[in-house]
Amino acid sequence: MALLEIENLSVAFATSGGTFRAVDKLSLSVQSNDILAIVGESGSGKSVAMMAVMGLLPWTAKVTADKLNFNGIDLLNLNARMRKKVIGKDIAMIFQEPMSSLNPCFTVGFQLAEALRVHLGMNRAERRKRSIELLELVGIPAPEKRLSAFPHQLSGGMSQRVMIAMAISCNPKLLIADEPTTALDVTIQAQILDLLVSLQSETDMGLVLITHDMGVVAETADRVVVQYAGQKAEEQPVKKLFAEPHHPYTSALLAALPERATSQILPSIPGVVPGQFDRPKGCLFSPRCAYATDLCRTVEPKRAEAALGHALCHYPLVDGEPTKNQKVS
């Protein structure tokens, strides 16, 4: 049984201009001891999907799914009391902005110990011992001193380490990392990623890594889900994805990597992810796709088979060229 199973998850926001679908029929699964990367540009709904798993979305969001199971528990129909026992204990999440994700009014020690008390019922001495242990684990020097520090006294990298320590404090089965390195210096980014990967391998937890950075994906992930405008564009093991992308969007993303540049000028994808008011008909990627035909612009594509990376495309790429043998259904 998969640790996290999502089938046809949709998240819609009620806005003043009507409903906006941030996530559109997303399906994915995570095994324990698995690192899944979700890749996409900003606005592609990758964070929103994981927030839905955590139940962190505002009340304006409407979450629907055929299946939203964690470890056999149906998260969709969980009451608040039961949810509290799972969220923060078995599923934990860290966020993009470590500096603002820690409460400025409380010490590191207070914030670390909070989950230990609520979920594990530890007493004061146990909490302190475990907190120091956790800070050591995430590589913070002089942990005893750090317990009484306030977040504004920590650097960004330190804050993210504290966030990670908080997240893994109850030995979660699944850790969701939402762009954990985006806000950090390049030198710190690698350290944090290494930390996450080593923690993951030591504890056998599942790790979902949300990122827009293909470089991060290549270094860390086992499997990759490419998300575009709330939809899953493609899903493949990481090596295969880099070897042969089947969705034109994936292909374009990879082509934009500096390491892969073949010409002097770095290729980019024209345009931006469609928003609430400019969703195209047919394939959502068609306005920006180099291979788009009239079919793409009018008819929504069907999902291709696993061999073609479940690509959501009329003409999945094979050897970098669109296949022309697909029939209109």
């Binding site: 969220i87 923060g88 966020f95 603002s100 994700s101 009014c105």
Partner: protein, 336 residues
């Protein structure tokens, strides 16, 4: 922390000088002769005029008069009331406890009701519950409190006969003035019913004086809470699996209190202005009523002294609020 305190104290000095200058010049900017002005409509003989001029030192250069005034004020000498001939300082501090008691009750009333209202409205934002609470708060904020007091008197004292109309305590009770606070003194006296009488006299003035601060605090708490609820650290707290009560009551509230404390500090001025009206309506023997009486009796030394003392009290309270602010907001505290 100590450095912070010292710096904050240093900032007070120019304001204090300015306030004394303002209080000083208020009598002196008057067009015409200060002695004639103080004498009012009665007028004085030329001899008496010259004598008064010298007595008050009005014949000396202005800056000498100012420094004289400043150093006297620092020693606690605010001059003599023209009406009662008692030192203004003594008059002020005989009456101040009454105003202090009323203001404290009013601000507690405003906090105890205003904070929960603001929090509830923020949590239930957009609902009819939120809208009616905030509608009520805006009515309170727009309230002419002198009229509000009269309305309450009509209802509770007139129609229902529940509360007395004026004063601090029923004339049936007499006990020594220990602290000047009627609630405390009535308890100390041990007389049966004295405390209840003091409370019943306090209720309406407290409501009247507390209404605007209540409305301001409720509105400010709501907007601060709304802002904080959108912060990343609140999301973190929720992601930890904490109960909604703990997320709101601990993580959000502590941060939301930072701007609210500033607001509470600013209410002191509102309370002082409100005290003038409230005390007039309820014949409450405090400094508000004393000031109004002094103004209408043209008792300028009293007005001058009262003005200065109130400004100093407000400055002092703002200092305390700043210190509290540092206590609750670690980012300020550590800047030291």
């Amino acid at each position: 922390m100590f450095g912070f305190l010292l710096k904050r104290f240093g900032l007070l000095i120019p304001t204090f000088l300015g306030v004394t200058l303002a209080a000083f010049s208020f009598v002196r900017i008057l067009p015409g002769d200060p002695v004639l002005l103080m004498a009012g409509e009665r007028g004085v003989t030329p001899e008496r005029h010259a004598q008064l001029l010298e007595q008050f030192g009005f014949d000396r250069p202005l800056y000498v008069q100012y420094f004289d005034y400043l150093f006297s004020a620092l020693r606690g000498d605010l001059g003599q009331s023209l009406v009662t001939k008692r030192p203004v300082w003594d008059e002020f501090f005989t009456l101040f406890p009454a105003t202090f008691e009323l203001s404290i009750c009013a601000i507690i009333f405003a906090l105890v009701i205003g904070l929960p209202i603001g929090m509830l409205a923020a949590i239930k934002r957009g609902t009819w519950f939120d809208q009616s609470l905030m509608g009520a708060a805006l009515v309170g904020y727009s309230m002419p409190i002198f009229w509000w007091g009269l309305l309450l008197i009509i209802l509770f004292s007139g129609t229902l006969g529940w509360t007395p109309v004026s004063g601090r305590i029923s004339l049936l009770y007499y006990f020594p003035n220990v602290t000047g606070l009627m609630l405390v003194d009535s308890l100390l006296s041990g007389q049966k019913g004295a405390f209840a009488s003091a409370v019943s006299h306090l209720i309406l003035p407290t409501i009247v004086l507390g209404t605007i601060p209540l409305a301001v605090i409720a509105r400010q708490t709501r907007s601060a809470m709304l802002e904080v609820l959108n912060e990343d650290y609140v999301r973190t707290a929720r992601a930890k699996g904490l109960s909604a009560k703990r997320v709101i009551g601990v993580h959000a509230l502590r941060n939301a209190m930072i701007p609210v404390i500033t607001t509470i500090g600013l209410q002191v001025g509102v309370l002082m202005a409100g005290a003038i009206l409230t005390e007039t309506i309820f014949s409450w023997p405090g400094i508000g009523k004393w000031l109004i009486d002094s103004i209408s009796r043209r008792d300028y030394p009293s007005v001058q002294g009262g003005l200065l003392m109130i400004a100093v009290i407000i400055m002092f309270v703002n200092l305390v609020v700043d210190l509290l602010y540092g206590l609750i907001n670690p980012r300020i505290r550590h800047k030291g």
